[in-house]
């Protein structure tokens, strides 16, 4: 009778999940550092298309200016007029001299307004600018 009573070695049927929390932590830290919160809503604009589009690497140093086809101007969700741009941007440049100004102008906006905007930026010493475009593929 005492033949087949040898105990079978129990196979562990569980997935080891002690390292799960570590992995999730790692992912969490990755996303926390990568996330840049969208600060402002802006205006609804149809950006022009361009092929020579480049990425802006320093995402935290970007300040946006919106200009829509009704030629409304918006900085940090405040509608303003052209003469107000210079003092605001000069203040921003004092706070962060590495600032890049991204002009998000509608493709049907008048170029004259963009030119005026560039003049104001020049006077505010905000010399690194970027014309926001959609990359054509």
């Amino acid at each position: 009778m005492a033949v087949g009573f040898k105990q079978k070695s129990k196979l562990s049927s569980e997935i080891p999940n002690s390292s799960l929390a570590d992995i999730v932590f790692l992912l969490l830290i990755f996303f926390m550092t990568v996330t840049v919160f969208k600060e402002y809503q802006g205006l609804r604009v149809q950006l022009p298309m361009a092929k020579a589009t480049q990425k802006i690497e320093a995402r935290r140093d970007i300040s946006y200016i919106w200009l829509d086809r009704e030629n409304r101007l918006n900085i940090d969700d405040v509608l303003l007029s052209m003469p107000e741009v210079r003092p605001i941007m000069a203040e921003k440049m004092r706070e962060n001299p590495a600032l890049i100004v991204s002009i998000r102008a509608d493709e049907r906006a008048k170029y004259g307004n963009v030119a005026l905007l560039m003049e104001a930026l020049k006077e505010a010493n905000a010399l690194r600018i970027n014309f926001a475009t959609i990359s054509e593929s």
Partner: protein, 140 residues
């Protein structure tokens, strides 16, 4: 003799819910992260008040009129041919002045022109790998 055992206080922090909390945070950041980076055509403006005299022969003038018609070095040019023309002008300039010299491409768009037309032309100039691009200020 008092041999009664002391009740051992549990000195451990319960960590079983930690993973759940971290998961929750992870999902939050996953949802809020936008992975599409800011894109555009980068330019560096000249400092204010700096008016440099440039000899006309070192400049390639490009004009854009309110209808979006393009004038490259005095000739009406289709948008598709702008890149080729800029490239040829660059090469011609390099032949005359040496490899290290770059022609200045001056882009002047009319104030009534659509922004799109100006960006289209700027895009073509950028694609022709011109490095000295000047955006001229229109007169108001």
């Amino acid at each position: 003799m008092n041999l009664k055992k002391h009740a051992k206080p549990n000195a451990e922090i319960p960590t079983s819910s930690l993973a759940d909390i971290v998961f929750l945070l992870l999902i939050f950041f996953l949802v809020t992260t936008s992975m599409n980076p800011a894109k555009g055509i980068g330019m560096t403006l000249p400092p204010p008040g700096e008016q440099v005299e440039i000899r006309q022969e070192n400049v390639l003038n490009i004009f854009v009129n309110p209808e979006g018609a393009i004038l490259v070095a005095g000739e009406i040019t289709d948008l598709r041919d702008v890149r080729q023309k800029v490239y040829e002008a660059r090469m011609e300039f390099k032949r005359r002045r040496g490899e290290d010299d770059e022609i200045i491409v001056s882009l002047l768009a009319h104030t009534e022109a659509e922004y799109k037309h100006m960006i289209d032309v700027l895009d073509e100039i950028k694609q022709a790998e011109a490095t000295k691009i000047s955006i001229a200020t229109p007169h108001f």
